[in-house]
């Protein structure tokens, strides 16, 4: 049988600092092909170019995809390469055409749940892990109302924003902040809620 073909079409799909390396599968009828993934940071490529490091999650990998998030840990360029293995046969390495930098990750607007608990304006943000904070903007939708800002350190937990008064809706929008790369996402869609009934009795 001829030499085992090397994987082709390597690409990195990165969203919210989660990085997936993908490639076209090597198909051998009747055979189960596995893959090894290795990476090299800019330090290695500059100071020790012979050094390639086995990916922490995919040596070996069974499918044409590898989560390299835990390997890409600094704000520098990373080279990535993959090879196929079938029994005792091993293909040549295929290297990602352009080095990957995590700065290029796509930041999506955060999932935002806006609710009212009695007269309380409560939100819950999507949990994106410790690498993210959230900037939350909220306002009472009436002329002259001032926009408030609050930083939320973690998603996945309810956050009380304000005690509302009837008569106008309260609106909220949010964006993520990726601390490791110092970038913000776009804003989520603004979501509004309103409380009915009498204004709160003044405390005497």
């Amino acid at each position: 049988a001829g030499a085992l073909a090397a994987p082709q079409n390597l690409s990195v799909h990165s969203t919210n600092l989660k990085h997936l390396l993908r490639w076209s599968p090597v198909v051998v009828p009747g055979g189960t092909v596995s893959y090894s993934v290795e990476y090299q940071g800019e330090y290695e490529s500059l100071y020790a170019s012979h050094i390639w490091i086995p990916s922490s999650r995919c040596s070996p990998a069974v499918g044409p995809e590898c989560d390299v998030t835990d390997d890409i840990t600094a704000n520098v360029q990373y080279n990535l390469r993959v090879r196929a293995t079938l029994g005792s046969q091993t293909s040549a390495w295929s290297t990602l055409e352009h080095p990957f930098h995590r700065n290029s990750t796509i930041l999506t607007p955060p999932g935002l749940d806006v609710t009212k608990d009695g007269f309380h304006l409560v939100i819950e943000l999507e949990d994106l892990g410790p690498q993210f904070e959230f900037l939350v903007f909220y306002w009472r939708r009436e002329s002259g109302a001032k926009e408030q800002v609050k930083t939320v350190r973690r998603g996945g937990i309810p956050v009380h924003l304000e005690t509302m008064e009837p008569g106008a809706p309260y609106c909220v929008k949010a964006q993520t902040f990726a601390k490791a790369i110092g970038r913000h996402s776009a804003f989520s869609q603004a979501d509004c809620v309103e409380v009915q009934g009498e204004a709160l009795p003044l405390a005497l």
């Binding site: 330090y43 922490s56 600094a74 490791a180």
Partner: protein
């Protein structure tokens, strides 16, 4: 000094990487009574004005010598060292910008400190020196953290 130089950076992640390898690396250090970064005299005596230069020089020390001289067979330890080395490279690039804006001046005191450390390194056989310096990374990281805290905007 570093006050306006070292852009805020996630030192916690670097410290975590080091803690993951500290025991294994320090166990390979066969010269326990010798030190390269010499905690008390060398780093602690550095004045704020010299912090940027010393940081830059020590980052270079680790990248040009220590990480290169250390041959690590264990992939898990290699990953952590790589993570630290690439973070140091990023930090060095950051300080490069300060240097271009002439805000990372090297006085003789700062140069002397780096010379002492290189001399300490040269006293040992290169593999032993590299392992010892790796094992003393926490001294350097703590020093960066302390000086960055005092100086971050």
């Amino acid at each position: 000094g570093l006050r306006r130089c070292l852009i805020s950076m996630d030192m916690h992640h670097i410290e975590q990487s080091f803690q993951g390898i500290k025991r294994a690396v320090q166990a390979k250090d066969t010269f326990q009574n010798v030190t390269i970064l010499s905690k008390s005299e060398t780093l602690q005596s550095i004045k704020p004005l010299d912090v940027c230069c010393v940081t830059k020089n020590l980052l270079t020390f680790y990248m040009d010598r220590v990480f290169k001289d250390h041959q690590e067979p264990n992939p898990q330890i290699l990953r952590k060292i790589s993570s630290i080395a690439n973070s140091f490279l990023y930090m060095q690039k950051t300080l490069q910008q300060c240097q271009e804006q002439r805000r990372c001046h090297c006085r003789q005191e700062a140069i002397n400190v780096t010379t002492v450390i290189h001399d300490n390194y040269d006293q040992l056989e290169v593999r032993s020196a590299a392992v010892k310096s790796l094992g003393e990374l926490d001294v350097f990281l703590a020093w960066i953290d302390k000086n960055h805290q005092e100086t971050s905007a």
